[in-house]
Symmetry: C2
Subunit: 435 residues, 2 copies
């Protein structure tokens, strides 16, 4: 009895052409992370459940893949941050700080199966971890990495939204709203939908004084250029220490972002970004495509106070970002926003026209490979038409043909599959031509 070959729902499995595109994206992200001096890390996909769930709760705990093997209570990692925290705490004495690592790997969440949601997906993370402290200028380098990464992926029209959580927290502190901050944030979030007056009305229901409501409205209605927004925030005249520190940090980050050469079109201050209420403590980032805001943030992150507090007493502040590559690829592919000139791994398909050529075909392919040209040989005993069709289907750009005439004259025929052009050349000239 045959078993029907199925792949589980929520698990991405691509056909070759898409896989090549996916890997191209993954490799570009990796190369760009390395360009900024981040070191690779590869942690196990399985960890002890105790480690992974040290902090987690709520949704995470429900979604996690957890199981026993023998006596061990195991789980699959649901992000790359918890394993990083474990790694840094475990290897603290062996690491050089600031520790800059990237990790590109699969993580697992048993989400409800629905279009665009994945249970297994790649995260592409970078984090910079300080030993005790970490300079604010690090917070300015991450947007530079986001910028060059998305440019490298072929995008121009996207915006990195930047905020500093100390500003929000300082305002709440100043207005004595710390305990209501979650609800206030939730109301503020609806402003685009329900409008200013309705927001005020809802805030009044929380028994917030009129003066505080005015401050909140002034704050969330700040608009203008980056510099105008920085000026406007100072004009609020909030004399809170945390708030002032947040504004100073944000100014420092903006100044250095400009030094890094990020165009004004590709970043903006967005005072409404919070990104969860207890993890991030300073700078926060989100990234949106200008023309596809509905995709949500395609790269997010921020500054946190203490990476590994569940595993060590060492204070390890950090700043990081993450790209959810599987979802991003799926979205971009659905929108037909991913293309590539070269969708083939092989640059050349070598085809022999003779029954017995004393190894000329294999020797030719070996020469091409030695010259670092990805080369496939068509070995099967098929009609010539089938051989060319194979090159066509795999989108291999060149075919090298070896027939009796070529063998006699110690040449090959090179066919450009796009233009149809053919020329007879020495192998050295083929190498020069297509290298």
């Amino acid at each position: 009895m045959k078993i029907t070959p199925k792949t589980l729902p929520g698990f991405m499995e691509l056909l070759p052409q898409d896989q090549i595109l996916f890997n191209e994206m993954k490799e570009k992200i990796q190369k760009n992370y390395e360009k900024y001096g981040f070191i690779p890390l590869d942690t196990p996909i399985i960890e002890s459940a105790e480690i992974l769930l040290a902090k987690a709760g709520g949704e995470t705990e429900k979604q996690i893949y957890r199981f026993n093997k023998g006596e061990n209570d195991l789980a699959l990692r649901f992000d790359l941050t918890v394993p990083l925290a474990k790694y840094v705490a475990k290897n603290y004495n062996e690491l050089t700080f600031p520790f800059r690592r990237y990790q590109i790997g699969k993580v697992y969440r048993g989400e409800k199966a629905q279009r665009g949601r994945f249970r297994e997906f790649y995260q592409c993370d970078i984090d910079i971890i300080g030993d005790g402290e970490l300079g604010i200028i690090n917070d300015a380098e991450l947007p530079s990495i986001i910028y060059t990464t998305f440019k490298e992926l072929g995008f121009e029209k996207f915006k990195i939204r930047i905020n500093n959580r100390k500003i929000l927290n300082g305002i709440f502190e100043e207005l004595n709203l710390k305990e209501k901050s979650v609800e206030v944030m939730r109301i503020i979030d609806k402003i685009a939908k329900i409008g200013n007056e309705a927001v005020k009305e809802e805030l009044r229901k929380l028994e917030i004084e009129e003066k505080s409501i005015e401050k909140i409205m002034q704050f969330i209605l700040i608009e203008g250029t980056t510099d105008e927004k920085l000026k406007a925030i100072e004009k609020l005249e909030i004399k809170n220490e945390l708030f002032n520190l947040g504004v100073a940090e944000l100014k420092e980050v903006i100044k250095n972002i400009r030094y890094f050469g990020i165009p004004e079109n590709n970043f903006k201050i967005d005072y409404s970004i919070a990104r969860g209420l207890d993890y991030y403590t300073g700078t926060v980032y989100e990234t949106f495509f200008d023309d596809y805001e509905e995709l949500g943030s395609v790269c997010s992150g921020g500054r946190y106070e203490n990476l590994a507090e569940n595993y060590t007493d060492k204070k390890l502040p950090g700043v990081g970002i993450s790209i959810g590559l599987t979802r991003l690829f799926d979205q971009l592919n659905n929108l037909k926003l991913i293309t590539s000139e070269e969708k083939s791994i092989s640059k050349v398909l070598v085809i022999s026209m003779c029954e017995n050529d004393d190894g000329i075909t294999l020797k030719t392919a070996t020469e091409l490979r030695k010259a670092n040209i990805n080369t496939q040989i068509y070995f099967e005993d098929k009609k010539i038409k089938a051989k060319f069709k194979y090159a066509d289907k795999l989108q291999i750009p060149y075919v090298v043909i070896i027939g009796e005439d070529e063998i006699k004259t110690n040449t090959v025929t090179l066919k450009n599959m796009k233009t149809g052009e053919q020329e007879t050349l020495k192998i050295e000239d083929v190498i020069k031509k297509i290298s």
Copy 2:
């Protein structure tokens, strides 16, 4: 309460310097697979248990990580071949045959924890799958890939051992020993340990006729050069069809291996290789380091009749090889056989000597990165000595220093960390120098 940060036994987790070396090996293998025109494939790590266990039994079933999530009976893949079989059966109509794919990914086996055994490990596989049939010359290309891969990894002294299972099976068929073949193989395997006479003695215990024992001994004692071994096998004068086909295939493979340019030192015929008794049906390979035979085979594989018979009626013959990278890396690392000139991801560390440099440091780093030079900036507010120590620890080969003099003259100072040499240069000249 703090949780002790631990990694599970049997799961490799490397420190940065080793991780860089590991990734270098992985990337070299990948690039070499692509050089032969293999297409990347990335299948889920979790599959339905029914799919993964379609054929398995015995050890595999005991070792597999299997668990329930909701109503689903799930398991982690224990190799990359079963997922390939599922993939090809599932996507048969979308694929172009011969389908040449590589996959480099983690697989899971709950082995007993002991030194050198891993529960999570990378396999680096290539397979060529034919639709109904697949030419024997494919079997000659794989040794060529093994050869170039290990050369690329920096090894010279290794041997690919080649055999054809049809030869063994043909002999057993001819001598009417098919039912005893497992036991005969087991006895033959011991010849190095127990010697010829003891082997004969044990074969007699199986009630094998003296004439057959003579043939078996003649066969397993064949020695000499590759050509001598090919001649000797013909001299056995076994008139069995399967045997003759095996010999013809082996001769064809050896002829083409030579055309591919594999030196005689790097391959040999080994008539004793069987590699399990029911999966491989033709050519089989094993690869040993000349000076470290005790490591066992570091790259193995062979020809199989039918990849996906559990999932489809289509006949899909194939040939493939696999490198168990995690174990290989561990072994080579223990033997101190892995080194690398460049153990750093960053080529340059940029250090600023000024409090405020109007962004010159960030702009300089941006220039270097634009020129594709992996560059890290030292941001922390530490003494100059600490900054150089950082470059040293991370083995970053160059430091670019920006001080007040450099800013005035629009130059930077480049220090070669190996030689200690320092020169003051324009940034363009730094780029030229270290590119």
